[in-house]
């Protein structure tokens, strides 16, 4: 009996060793490829290898909003600062119970209109439409019945006048050049159907008319650890997947899409809480099934500053939503897994998200349990375990700090010595402790799933002090 248990534990230990080594290798490649790509792009920019143009193409910016009275004005104001010639802003109020609508009408002096809407994608009913042409660009406010974020985005697509649309969260702010940057991949290759931007933590910066004029790591430990985490995952991992058109996620906080392709694919899914990822996976499927030549790109120089949760409660709600969204997207598109038609998207990308994103908290939890069992049965090599864990933590910390500094230097941001020290300490804390916190959140995300699977979970918005 004991011998059987020991041999099972040995097999489990080997599995974990391989699991961690594969992950470490993936992390290594993602950071190295990410860093190299950024370096290469910077070099290309210096020798004028970029498409910069007076007029690109017109873009509709869709801002879905639900009870966003605290941040909505700041967010829309930041959209009016964009350095871009032709665009429109469409705010879709998804049945807010607060003063979101009243604030927008009063601030932008909007007038009610009877605008007819071409319903290319079904969505909930419109209550009222307001418009104004008094600002730099046309602003439209659609007030509709509550139907969720996907439904609000679908309404925005129906209203959008231009062939490409950008979706942005109501608590996010764009840099002055972000729109120009995110359309550049389409100018370079018109097979591009979607482009994802880089999401960074807004609490780090000071914005002056759309320009970043100051950068500092926040004192809030939770926020600053998210800075390290965002830099590593958004910067490195997505650049690596971008090398083979394998990104399965374009963050809902900032992404550009080709309207007719999204309409053809059926628009956003109202029944999932991970509508951003679900749409991207569906676009891959739609284009491959219909033999449409396409690319889905990631543009790390198109930056969106988004508010990160400042409390553990808000972080729990956000990550729970992300994890359930990931589960729903992977589950509803399980048919692409390991199908030759879907190439590396169906194999490498799908398996990565499945084993190293969706299942990782459970696998890691199982790992801890098996470690305890190994100790009980005396097959645990404690010195090796400790050295391996320490090494793994240092390794993760080095990768995080590499990604962090790459981003700082390639964006020509200046940071203080204090922030350099903070970053050094944070990258260790983030890898040793924050990772465990996130694992617990993700592992418990499924508790009450049946009862609350459609719920967004509200995150407390705070008025930011990042705008000068």
């Amino acid at each position: 009996m004991t011998r059987d248990v020991v041999s099972i534990l040995n097999v489990i230990n080997i599995f974990f060793l391989i699991y961690l080594l594969v992950y470490a290798t993936y992390l290594f490649f993602s950071v190295v490829v990410g860093a190299w790509q950024l370096y290469f792009r910077e070099k290309m920019r210096q020798v004028k290898n970029e498409i910069r143009h007076e007029y690109y193409f017109p873009v509709s910016i869709i801002v879905p909003a639900h009870n966003e009275e605290v941040t909505i004005l700041e967010s829309v104001e930041s959209l009016l600062q964009l350095d871009y010639k032709l665009y429109e802003v469409i705010i879709v109020d998804d049945g807010s119970a607060d003063d979101t609508v009243a604030k927008l009408i009063a601030h932008f002096d909007m007038e009610e209109t009877k605008r007819p809407i071409r319903m290319s994608i079904p969505c909930k009913k419109v209550r009222t439409i307001y418009e104004t042409n008094k600002e730099k660009v046309k602003i439209t406010l659609i007030c509709k019945e509550n139907g969720g974020k996907g439904d609000a985005l679908n309404m925005g697509i129906n209203v959008a006048a231009y062939p490409y649309f950008v979706c942005i969260d109501a608590d996010s702010m764009l840099q002055q050049d972000s729109l120009e940057r995110i359309v550049q991949p389409v100018m370079e290759d018109d097979r591009t159907v979607a482009v994802g931007g880089l999401i960074r933590v807004a609490q780090c910066i000071l914005l002056d008319r759309g320009r970043v004029v100051g950068y500092r790591l926040p004192w809030n430990l939770l926020m600053s650890m998210q800075v390290m985490e965002y830099d590593r995952s958004f910067l490195a991992s997505r650049i690596l997947l971008d090398q083979f058109n394998g990104n399965l996620i374009i963050s809902g906080a900032f992404g550009l899409f080709k309207k007719d392709i999204v309409i053809g694919a059926g628009g956003y899914d109202n029944h999932t809480i991970g509508e951003d990822m679900e749409l991207v996976v569906r676009l891959h499927k739609y284009c491959r099934n219909n033999k449409i030549p396409y690319t889905i790109r990631y543009e790390p120089n198109a930056i969106c500053w988004s508010q990160a949760p400042g409390t553990l409660r808000d972080l729990y709600r956000q990550r729970r939503r992300w994890h359930l969204g990931l589960f729903q997207s992977l589950f509803s598109h399980k048919d692409i897994c390991m199908k030759s038609r879907f190439g590396l998207v169906g194999s490498l990308s799908y398996l990565y998200y499945l084993f190293y994103e969706l299942l990782s908290p459970f696998i890691e939890l199982f790992g801890w349990l098996s470690m305890v069992a190994s100790a009980i049965f005396g097959v645990l090599n404690i010195p090796f375990m400790v050295s391996f864990y320490l090494l793994y933590a240092i390794y993760g910390a080095v990768l995080s700090i590499t990604a962090f500094f790459q981003r700082i230097y390639t964006q020509n941001l200046k940071i203080s010595r204090l922030d350099v020290c903070k970053a050094m300490i944070l990258c260790v804390i983030e890898n040793v402790f924050f990772r465990i916190v996130l694992d617990v959140i993700r592992a418990t995300a499924f508790i009450g799933y049946r009862r609350r699977k459609g719920e967004w979970g509200t995150i407390k918005r705070v008025k930011s002090d990042i705008v000068k």
Binding site: Y55, K114, F405
Partner: protein, 370 residues
């Protein structure tokens, strides 16, 4: 044995950690050093250019040694960047005549450098194209033959190389080379955004009307994107190309046809001969009716007004919208307005009411602005 493998892997990862740290440090040091070196290179080039420009006449020449030295220097991308940046500064500080004489003096050097860049990676060729487009426009005659070498840059190129080289060809006013470039792009299977080409052609340093006609004559050898760009280019020129484009309305297919229809909607290209054809397209009530409804607003006549009123009831949302806008361009009578606002067709009524409302707001805003 297993323990040894694990140890080996652990050591490998320790090595990777150290390598990453070193990479990070090296990158930071290198970035700072690179900026300093680039500034020094530009400074040296500027001093050299200023010394060559002082007292320059049209007979001033580089001696053979200087020429060889400069060719060798500028064949390196870093030095070429320094040369270009220095030239940009000199252009701001010195008299244009001196700049022109200096650029003419550099003719042999830049021709040889262009030749040397043929073997360089696409990224570097793109930069040479950029340098030409930025500075050699004012001495286009002297450098026009450079276009023959620049055409070679299209082989195995990137979008940036193509764009920069095309910009260089426009700036040199090299009509033949532009024609050849577009043909080569089709043969090589390179597609280039029509917006980039149309805007680029606008910067052509020569007779644009002649270029448009010449390129239109060779359009069959070009890719669809180039043909669309060409029509857009023509619609921005004051010349009349109706006779060239009219036959294109006979067989409608794809994006090109949309562009042709739109051509006849630009105010200065209104051609009454096309009215019948456009009315025919409007009656088809398909995707081509969308631009047709829009451009017909510029074609006066009761028959057009009637057709647009009918188009308000189209199955296509955009036809309804464009027809409503076009009717407003006509300036309807009060009775006609009333008739449309009380139309039986709810879709037509709704659209017309909305467009009318927008017009009212626009007038009010203009009044406020004034």
């Amino acid at each position: 044995m297993r323990q040894e493998i694990v140890n080996m892997v652990v050591y490998l990862y320790i090595f990777i950690c150290v390598a990453l740290l070193l990479f990070n440090i090296a990158y930071i040091v290198y970035s700072k050093q690179r900026k300093r070196q680039a500034w020094n290179r530009k400074d040296r080039m500027k001093k050299m250019q200023l010394s060559a420009m002082s007292g320059i006449t049209k007979d001033t020449k580089f001696n053979e040694k200087e020429e060889k030295h400069l060719i060798k220097k500028l064949s390196n991308i870093k030095n070429l960047v320094g040369f270009e940046e220095a030239l940009a500064e000199c252009e701001k500080e010195r008299d244009e005549k001196e700049i022109i004489l200096y650029l003419k003096m550099c003719r042999n050097i830049l021709f040889q450098v262009a030749w040397n860049f043929k073997k360089k990676p696409a990224m570097e060729r793109a930069y040479f194209g950029y340098m030409v487009s930025r500075h050699l426009g004012k001495v286009a005659e002297t450098y026009r033959h450079l276009s023959e070498t620049l055409l070679e840059y299209f082989a195995d190129s990137t979008i940036y190389a193509r764009e920069n080289v095309l910009m260089a060809l426009y700036c040199l006013g090299a009509e033949d080379a532009i024609d050849q470039a577009f043909s080569r792009m089709k043969v090589s299977g390179y597609s280039h955004q029509h917006r980039l080409i149309a805007d680029g052609l606008q910067t052509y340093n020569g007779d644009k009307d002649r270029l448009a006609k010449r390129l239109w004559g060779s359009r069959e050898q070009y890719d669809g994107e180039v043909r669309i760009a060409l029509i857009q280019f023509m619609s921005r020129l004051p010349g009349d190309y109706s006779s060239l484009l009219l036959p294109e309305l006979e067989q409608l297919s794809g994006e090109e046809s949309f562009t042709v229809i739109r051509y006849f909607g630009t105010r200065h290209h209104v051609c009454l001969e096309t009215k019948e054809k456009l009315l025919e397209i409007l009656k088809r009530d398909d995707e081509y009716s969308v631009p047709a409804a829009s451009v017909l607003g510029y074609y006066p006549g009761e028959d057009v007004k009637e057709a647009l009123m009918q188009a308000l009831g189209s199955n296509l949302w955009y036809v309804r919208k464009n027809a409503a806008n076009a009717l407003l361009e006509f300036g309807l009578t009060r009775a006609e307005n009333e008739e449309l606002l009380k139309a039986d067709d709810a879709y037509a009524r709704e659209m017309f009411r909305y467009v009318l409302e927008l017009k009212r707001q626009e007038i009010e805003n203009r009044g406020e602005g004034a």
